[in-house]
């Protein structure tokens, strides 16, 4: 493997500056009405995602979790900001890096952990695992394992909204989360074209953590300013600092509003940086140590804490208590997941079809398909 290179500070072709470095002045984008409780709430959610994901990594190493396991570490501010903007009537589709969204959207951490453990109390009964969190009541319509696979269904959900309701400030909308890597597949472009053509209420959020597995954005995209990629479909885009939950929230609120009221599909690009490898098993050797070090310096969780401390919203004692509570929640999630029963073999064919028909499949391996 070649020596890892440092990230580009600016795109050599366009001269565009990566905006992750341009931190807003403290409190600059902060709406004045944010109460201390709201801010502490965001922080607590960020800590919850952080601690949950660290624990998930540990449980993976302890072989409690199988398969793939992609963590939201480093994306906590983005996750919390986006979910703060999303309203109860809205629909959410995400990529496979979905634990944080599931929890902050409202799924119980213990049931998310149980899903990771493949247990009956998991959010989808142990049928989906890490990549496939789903809760129809919360309108979280799935984490999707195929890169970009969620884009056409998310677009279709927006089509269904347009099919049966009129634009309004409280209308339904769809938020579709995708990674930077998904912007180069056909489904991205086909979806954007349909959304732009049909004027669908959807916000595509490109969570740009600057690496598609090990391939940096500028090695993968001819236009690395990903928020511009909707231009061909007349879809406006904006890039914001994904390390700031307030900035992310406000940008998402604005984009969702246009989707609801104008039926204008939108792109929102959030810049952040993965603190770990692509998945739990990725040592991320392709990253330059200086980048990793810088990312740690810019870690959104301590940064937001410092900001709240500075504003006098969160003192050390409160922070300590909050941390303790979160740790307990996560510990309980593990205990709950561990105690939850494994699915039994008899359930194997339970969800073969939504509508039962003749000659349903029900043979286990090696059984004769015909009785005689």
């Amino acid at each position: 493997m070649a020596e890892p290179k440092r990230r580009e500070k600016a795109n050599p072709q366009t001269g565009a500056q990566p905006r992750s470095r341009t931190k807003p002045a403290s409190g600059a984008n902060q709406a004045p009405e944010d109460s201390p409780d709201t801010l502490r709430g965001y922080y607590e959610q960020m800590v919850l995602v952080r601690e949950f994901e660290l624990k998930a990594g540990e449980m993976y190493a302890r072989a409690k979790i199988g398969g793939y396991c992609h963590l939201n570490l480093g994306e906590e501010a983005t996750v919390v900001g986006l979910m703060a903007a999303l309203q109860p009537q809205d629909y959410l589709f995400t990529s496979y890096r979905d634990h944080g969204y599931a929890i902050v959207r409202g799924m119980e951490p213990r049931r998310v952990m149980a899903e990771l453990f493949g247990r009956t109390d998991g959010v989808v009964g142990g049928r989906g695992g890490s990549m496939h969190m789903f809760d129809s009541e919360l309108r979280m319509l799935g984490g999707y394992g195929i890169v970009g696979g969620q884009l056409p269904p998310a677009t279709g959900a927006a089509l269904a909204i347009a099919y049966r309701s009129e634009p309004a400030p409280d209308a339904e909308a769809v938020m579709c989360i995708l990674g930077d890597g998904a912007t180069n597949i056909g489904a991205f472009h086909e979806s954007l074209n349909l959304a732009g053509l049909w004027k669908l209420p959807i916000v595509y959020v490109i969570v740009n953590n600057q690496l598609g597995m090990g391939t940096s954005v500028d090695r993968a995209s001819a236009e690395p300013d990903l928020y511009k990629r909707g231009a061909a479909y007349r879809i406006p885009g904006e890039r914001v600092n994904g390390d700031d939950p307030i900035v992310v929230r406000d940008a998402a609120l604005a984009a969702l509003e246009r989707a609801r009221v104008e039926r204008q599909p939108m792109i929102l690009e959030t810049l952040s940086y993965r603190l770990r490898g692509h998945s739990v098993v990725d040592p991320a050797k392709y990253r330059h140590p200086d980048d990793v070090e810088e990312a740690k310096q810019n870690d959104p969780v301590p940064a937001f804490r410092a900001r709240l401390a500075e504003q006098g919203v969160l003192d050390d004692a409160a922070e300590e208590q909050l941390h303790k509570d979160v740790e307990q929640t996560v510990a309980e999630a593990v205990d709950f997941a561990d105690a939850s029963p494994l699915p039994s073999e008899e359930e194997l064919f339970e969800f073969s079809y939504a509508t039962e028909v003749a000659n349903m499949p029900n043979a286990y391996p090696g059984e004769p398909v015909m009785a005689r």
């Binding site: 629909y91 589709f93 959010v123 989808v124 009964g125 142990g126 049928r127 989906g128 496939h132 789903f134 809760d135 129809s136 319509l141 799935g142 999707y144 394992g145 195929i146 696979g149 884009l151 056409p152 269904p153 998310a154 677009t155 279709g156 959900a157 927006a158 089509l159 269904a160 909204i161 099919y163 049966r164 056909g186 489904a187 086909e190 979806s191 074209n193 349909l194 053509l197 339970e350 969800f351 073969s352 079809y353 939504a354 509508t355 028909v357 003749a358 000659n359 349903m360 499949p361 004769p368 398909v369 015909m370 009785a371 005689r372």
Partner: protein, 333 residues
């Protein structure tokens, strides 16, 4: 119910789509050239005028996009009928069909169903050359979570399309260019088939002939010709490729002790292979001759007419193989 009318397969599809659009406002149609152009094969002719652009949605050439959009719309409770101009183009949408439509219900623990229909014609024989003449239904019939139906008659077209639209799972509804003008009696009024059932469309005692979709036309033609010789062929129309009604054709083989399968598709890994294997499991002790398959030659289908004809299975091929199978078991009238 009034007397059955004799109408074409195309007309049966048209009337069924219209009736379902009228019955349920969640039903809508989308696809390329289905509205203004009235459909490449005119199945959707007249619908845009009567139902408007919201329910008759012309799409760009964008199979992955609009098939996937149908998946999402179905998750929110709509019942899209998607027309893919030919089965060949479904390959562009295959990730949305196989990885999404077919998986969402089971993978998400039954929390969301995907009630959608993909209507699409398959088959060769029109000199459309290799990429436009394929029978890819078995690709989808291989996938749990999918339902795949393949009616061969106008009445079945009506009954199975009605069932498919009302079904809560993704259904690939296989049509065939050569069937659209086939005529047959179709009862008026409500007609809903049970998906997953084959039908014995011609009773017989000497040999079981299994086919589906366009293959049924040839199968019946050949079986009827044998009748005149006093040889009695039982013909089974599969109608549903997933789920597959194994009992019906195995039962028939237990009676006749001989089986031939006629399919338009390639021989290897095809529907015929599945049927033959099932007969081996379900009717082994009843076989008096090897199960034979009559299927397409394994080449990309050529354009030139003699080559195309040589590659596709026809009535002569089927007749010959039936005779060989009868001879192989010492059949005497």
């Amino acid at each position: 119910m009034s007397e059955p009318r004799v109408i074409t397969y195309r007309q049966a599809l048209q009337e069924t789509i219209r009736a379902e659009l009228e019955r349920d406002e969640n039903v809508f149609v989308m696809g390329e050239e289905i509205g203004v152009f009235e459909g490449s094969y005119k199945i959707t002719a007249g619908l845009l005028k009567d139902f408007g652009p919201k329910r008759i949605v012309d799409t760009p050439i964008s199979e992955e996009g609009f098939v996937g959009a149908a998946v999402g719309a179905a998750m929110l409770g709509l019942r899209p009928i998607v027309e893919i101009m030919t089965l060949n183009f479904s390959l562009i949408a295959i990730d949305q069909i196989v990885n999404h439509a077919a998986k969402i219900y089971g993978m998400f623990g039954g929390q969301s169903s995907v009630p959608m229909v993909i209507r699409t014609p398959g088959g060769g024989g029109q000199q459309l050359a290799a990429t436009h003449s394929q029978n890819l239904e078995v690709w989808y019939a291989h996938i749990p979570g999918m339902k795949v139906v393949a009616p061969s008659t106008p009445a079945d077209a009506k009954a199975l399309l009605t069932a498919a639209i009302r079904d809560d799972d993704p259904v690939l509804f296989l049509e065939n260019l050569a069937l659209y003008n086939r005529k047959g009696e179709v009862p008026d009024g409500e007609l809903v088939a049970e998906i997953g059932r084959a039908a014995v469309v011609k009773a017989g005692t000497d040999l079981t002939l299994v086919s589906y979709s366009r293959g049924m036309v040839t199968a019946l033609e050949v079986a009827n010709a044998f009748d005149e010789e006093g040889i009695s062929i039982e013909v089974v129309d599969l109608r549903s490729l997933r789920p597959l009604d194994r009992e019906t054709f195995c039962d028939s083989v237990r009676k006749t002790s001989r089986a031939v399968i006629f399919e338009d598709d390639m021989l290897s890994y095809g529907v015929g292979a599945e049927i033959a294997a099932t007969i081996g499991e379900g009717a082994f002790d009843y076989l008096d001759a090897p199960v034979r398959r009559v299927a397409a030659a394994e080449v990309p289908l050529p354009y030139a007419k003699p080559l195309e004809l040589a590659a596709l299975p026809d009535a002569d091929d089927l007749t010959r193989v039936i005779r060989e199978t009868l001879d192989a078991s010492g059949f005497r009238k």
